[in-house]
Symmetry: D2
C-alpha cells in the first residue's frame, strides 16, 4: 500500500514491451534513429501542430532546460513558492539558467492567479538593480493536486503576452491534468498561450521518459546544444523514444491517467465521508490531500500504508491543521490497485469508529 | 556491417533481462531502492575497497560531473587536445565546472605523457591571470584506440600528486582497456593514483548506464547535490542499477569486452596484411584505425560498411595520410558478429587485389 | 538638500588628496605597488590580527565575491529578505556563486535573529533536493538603519559555527555601525564569529573603494583568482589603495561616520518631536526612517528635499503606515551640512504647524 | 626607465584634473549624473553615429561583458591563441559567458587572417557536439604590437557577416592603433563591420576608465543588467565619466597616443641599427619587440631598465630566437620621457660596442 508517489513503480507493461522490442539491432545513435523520428511526428499529431520536441531523462532536466531557453542569466522567472522548480530540484533551474532567479509567489493550492502575478509584476522597481521578469512557470497539476482550468490558463497566457514573459508549464502530471479537464493537449497548452512544456511520461507509465515540447520556435533554437552540454542526449536514444511509442500507442497514456484519477476520486470520496476528515484541497487529479485525525494517521502508518506529510503553506485562507490532526498526501498511479484503495479506506474507517467509541 | 561506434546497438540480452525483472513492483524512488544498494556494494568488491558511486545517464554527464567535483570555477583541467571532454561534449565540462577551462595538449595516439604534462605545467606563468591547474583528465581507452599501461598511469598519477592535481579517468571503454591490459580494476585506477573515474557501461552492453566512481572521498562530498541539480538523479533509479546488475553478473562485462577486443585484433591483423594498408595506431582495444587506399575506402562504403573517417592530428611523428589514402576508424562491440568482420576483410582483400591488377 | 543616499557626493577632501598624491610616478601594476602593501598592513592593525584583504571597485562586487568564496554552486546562503544582496544587486551573488541560492527570511528592521535563522534551518528537509545551507549574510548597518549589537552578533556567530555556515557581514556602512556601537572593528567582526566582511569605503568618504576582509584563511584562498576573473583587479591598483590610505589617516573615517551619525540623531530627534511623526525603526546609525503625514511629505518634496520612500515589509508587529502617511528614508553622510538638517526640520515643523492650524 | 607596460603610471594631468573637478557636490548615483550624460553624447560624436556606451572599471570587465552579450553559454568565440581574452584574464570571458568556449587560433604577430579563420570554421563538425561559433574577437593593437589595417578589418568583418558571428574588438590600445592608421574611430570600427568594442582609456592616460561601445543595438540590450550583476556599475559613476571627459577634451587622447607611438618608433629605429638586433614584429604602435643579444639583455637589466621577456609563439615562419638571444617587449606610454628612450639606446649601444670589441 505505497501511496508515497507515482514514481515508485516501474514501467507499465506496454511501455516495457516497446522498449524491449526497440532493443534489437543497430540504429543511429544520439536520436538519429527511426523510432525517435516516429515519436517526434507523433507529438505533432498529439498537439495538432508542428512542435519541437527534445527527449530527456528526468523531469528536473526538462524543467531546467526549458527555463534556460526562456530566461537569460540576468532574468527572473516567476513561479509559485511551492513549485517543484523552486523547491525540489536542488537549484537545477538556477544552474541551467546560469544564476537567473526564481521568484516564488504565494497562492492557495500552489496555484498562481493572473491577478496575483500582475500585482507582483507591477510592484517590481523599474531599475537596473532589479532582474527583469522573463518567464512564468506553473505546474499543471499543481503541487497541491489542483488543475488550472482553461480560463485560468488563458488569463495567465494573456498576462505573459502583455508583459513579454515566456509561459512555461511543468507537466510532470500532464496526462492526469488532461483527463481531469477532458480537453485536448492543444487546448491545455498553446491554445491558451503556453510557450514551452515539460511533458512528463515517467510518473504515468514510463520508466524514464520526459520531453520538452516547444510551441514558440525561437525557444527551441538552442535546446539541442543546451541538452547536449547538460549530458541529456543519450547515445542509445531509442531507449527514451521507444517508451513514448508504447506510451502513446492505443491511447495507453490516457488510460493510465484515467485509472489513477478515478482511484483518487474513490479514495477522496471515501475519506471525506469520515468524521473529522476534510480535504485541504479538492481532489482534481491523482493526488488526495486529506486533513485527518492524528489517530487515523497513526493507524494508517501502523498498517503499513506509505505516504508523505504535507505542508500547510498553501491552505485556503482560514483553514489550519489542528494540533491533533495531520495533513497528508496520497498519490494514486496507473499501477495502484483498486483493492488497495479499499484497504486504506477500511483502515481509516476502522480508526474513525474506534475514535468515535472512545 | 555497422562499425560506426559501439553505441549503435541496444543492450545485451542479460542486461535487458535484468532490467525487465527489476521493473516489477514498488520500490523507493531516487536510488533509495534495494537494487541500487546491491550494485553499490558490488562496485566495492570490483574495486577491492570502499568507493563512492553515483549512477548517471550519459558518459557526458559522468565526465562533466566528475570534473566539476575536482576543478573549481577558476581552475584549469589538463587533457589531450582530442579528448572527448574537450571535443565531443558541446562544452558540458565547462558548463558543469562553471567556466573552468580545459587545456588541450598534443600527444601521439591521443595519449598524454608525464613528460609532456610536466613541461606544460612548468611553462605556466605564476600569476593571478593564469587559471591554476587543478585536474588531469585522460581517456582510457584513448580517442585513438590506445591503452595506457600501468607504468604510464603510475607516472601520471605521481605527477598529479606532485602538482596537487586531481586525476580523472574517462573510462567510457573501461572494460575494453581492462581486458587489454589483463589487470584488475583496482590496478588500473586507484592503485596508480586515479582519484575519480567515469565508468562506462553503455558502450559495452548496457542500454544507458554510467557511473562515477570516486576513490578520494572529498571528491564525493558534493556529487549527490551536483548530480541532482544536473537532472541526473532519475526517479526510477532501479532502471540504471538493474542494468549494472545484469552487466556484472557472471562477469558478463568482461565477456563482452573480450569479444569486442578479439574481433578488433582479427580485423586489424587481416587488414594489416593487405598491401597499401597500415595502422595509424596499434590495435589495443576494440577500435581499429587503418590507413587504407582510397579505392579500398570506396569499395567498403559501396558495400555498405559503415564507419567514420578519422583525424590525423595525433599521428606519430613522420606519419602522414597520402592524397590517395584514407584514415578510418572501425569500432567493434559486444554485438559485432565475427562473420561481419570476415565480410569486411573479404571486401578489403578484393579491393586490394583489383588495385594490384590495375 | 539631498538625502537620497550616501553615495551622491564625491570623495572627502583627504581621500581625494591621497589619490592625487598617489598619481605620480611609475609603480607596479595590479596591486603590486607599495601603497597597496601599506594599506594591507594597515588593515591588520585595524583588525588587531592578520587578515587577508582584497580591494575591489564596488560593494556589489565585494558582497558577491565574498559569498562566492563561502558558498559552493549547489549551496544556500541565508539572509534577510530585504538584504542588499538579495534585493539590490541584479543577481550578482547568484552570478558569482554560479547559481547558488539566497534564502530571504523575514525579520523586524531588516535584522535576522539567531532564533529565526535556527528555526528556518531546522525546518529544511534533509534530502538531496534541498540545497544545503553554507553561509549566513547580514547587513551591518541593516537596510532599515539598525545596528546589530555585540550580543546579537555573537549569537549569530555561534549559530554559524554550530551549523557549519560561513558568516558574512555586508559592511557597506561599517564605519557608521562601529561608531554607533562604540566598539573596535575586531569586536564587531571576528571576535563574534564573522568570517568574511565587505568593508565599505565609498559611502563614508571614498570615491570608489571597497575591501573584502577575510578572517578565516581558507575563505581567502581563491579570492585573488575569483577577483581577477570578475574583472575586479584594476591595473592601476594604487587608485583604490590610496583612497583607503587617505580614509584611514588620522582616523578620518571615524570622523566622517561620527558626523553622519550625529546629524542623523539630530534630524531624528527633531522630527520625532513633531505631532503625527514617529520612527519606523530607531535611528542607530546614519539613516532616519520616519513615518510622516502625507502633507509633510508633500511639503518636503516641494521644498526640494530629496529622499526615497521606503517599504513597510519589515515594520515591527502591529505597526502600519496609514493611508495619509508616508514611510521615508533620509540618509546623512560625511558631507551633509548641519544647516541642511536644520532647514529640513524647519520645513517639517512648518508643515506640521499648518496641519495643526487646519 | 620602466618599460614594463603602459599601466604603470597614474593618470595624465588633464584627466586627473577633470576627476578632481567632478568630485564636488551632490549628483545622482549609478551613472544618472550630468557628466555621464555628456560623455555618452561625446562618444556619439567620436564615432559619428549613435552608439550605446557602458562605462566599466577594467579592460578585463569590458572584454568579458562585451563577449557575454554576443556569445550564448553554449557558443564558441574565435580569437588568436595569444589573445588577452584567452591568456591573461584568468577565465573572465568564460565566467561572464557562463562556460562558452574561446577557440585560440595561430597567426603571425598575434593577428588573425580572414583566410585562417575561414578555414577553421569550415573544418568544424556540423554536429550538436560542436559548440556553434558565435563571435570573433581580435585585439587592435595585437598582443605583438601589430595593427590590423582597414582592409584586413574589412575582410574579417565580411567574414563575420557571412558566418553570423558578432565581431568584437579588444581596443585596450585603441588610441595607439588609431594614430598608427591615421583613420577615424568610425573607419576603424563599425565601418569595417565591428559590432562591439572594448574602448580602453586606462593605458593611454586615464586612471581607471574603460568603455564598452556597441554598434549593433541588440548587443546592447542586456548590458546594463549584465554590468550591474558583475559589480561594474560604480555608485559614484562620475568617477569614470569625468576621466573620459578629461581624456577627450582638446583631443588629449590623440596627443597621448601620438607621443607613445612616436617614442616607440624612435626606440625601435635606434635598436634596429645595432648589430645583432632585429625586430620580431614591426613597430606599428607603442610597443617594441626586439630580438637582442643576451649580453645586451643583461646590460639593460643591470642598468635598471624594466621590461618583460616575450613568447616566440607567433614569430613569422622561419624566424627563431637563438640560444644567445632574448625576445623582449618594451612598452612606451603617454608618460614616457624621450630622454629615457635615449638612455636605453645608449645602454644598448654601449653593450653592442663591448660585444663587438670582444
Amino acid at each position: 500500500m505505497n501511496f508515497a508517489s507515482d514514481n515508485i513503480v516501474g514501467a507499465s507493461p506496454p511501455v516495457l514491451q516497446a522498449l524491449t522490442q526497440a532493443n534489437v539491432g543497430a540504429m543511429a545513435a544520439y536520436g538519429g534513429d527511426e523510432i525517435t523520428r516516429r515519436v517526434k511526428a507523433r507529438f505533432n499529431e498529439i498537439f495538432e501542430r508542428e512542435v519541437s520536441v527534445f527527449l530527456v531523462t528526468t523531469g528536473t532536466a526538462a524543467n531546467a532546460l526549458a527555463l534556460s531557453s526562456a530566461v537569460p542569466p540576468y532574468g527572473l522567472c516567476v513561479c509559485h513558492r511551492e513549485a517543484h522548480v523552486i523547491d525540489d530540484e536542488c537549484g537545477a533551474p538556477e544552474f541551467f539558467m546560469h544564476g537567473a532567479k526564481l521568484a516564488g509567489l504565494p497562492g492557495v493550492g500552489a496555484k498562481l492567479t493572473a491577478e496575483g502575478v500582475s500585482a507582483y509584476l507591477r510592484g517590481l522597481p523599474r531599475a537596473v538593480k532589479q532582474m527583469p521578469p522573463k518567464a512564468l512557470s506553473i505546474s499543471q497539476v499543481s503541487e497541491c493536486g489542483l488543475v488550472y482550468d482553461l480560463g485560468e490558463l488563458k488569463e495567465l497566457g494573456d498576462l505573459c503576452r502583455e508583459h513579454g514573459l515566456a509561459f512555461h508549464m511543468d507537466g510532470a502530471r500532464f496526462a492526469n491534468a488532461l483527463v481531469s479537464l477532458g480537453c485536448t493537449p492543444a487546448e491545455m497548452t498553446w491554445k491558451q498561450g503556453v510557450d514551452i512544456l515539460s511533458f512528463g511520461g515517467t510518473k504515468n507509465g514510463c520508466l524514464m521518459a520526459e520531453a520538452i515540447v516547444v510551441f514558440r520556435p525561437e525557444l527551441a533554437e538552442s535546446l539541442d546544444y543546451r541538452s547536449k552540454r547538460a549530458g541529456q542526449i543519450v547515445s542509445k536514444g531509442r531507449l527514451i523514444s521507444a517508451q513514448f511509442e508504447g506510451y502513446f500507442a492505443g491511447d495507453h497514456w490516457y488510460e493510465n491517467a484515467r485509472h489513477a484519477n478515478r482511484l483518487a476520486k474513490l479514495l477522496s470520496a471515501g475519506l471525506s465521508e469520515l468524521p473529522g476528515v476534510r480535504l485541504a484541497w479538492e481532489t482534481q487529479a491523482n493526488e488526495v490531500f486529506p486533513i485527518i485525525p492524528a489517530a487515523m494517521d497513526k493507524a494508517l502508518k501502523e498498517a503499513g500504508v506509505l505516504y508523505h506529510p504535507w505542508t500547510e503553506l498553501s491552505l485556503p485562507a482560514g483553514e489550519t491543521v489542528g494540533p491533533n490532526e495531520a495533513l497528508i498526501r496520497l498519490v494514486l498511479s496507473f499501477a495502484t490497485r483498486e483493492e488497495d484503495v479499499h484497504r486504506v479506506l477500511a483502515i481509516a474507517r476502522s480508526a474513525s469508529s474506534r475514535q468515535a467509541a472512545e
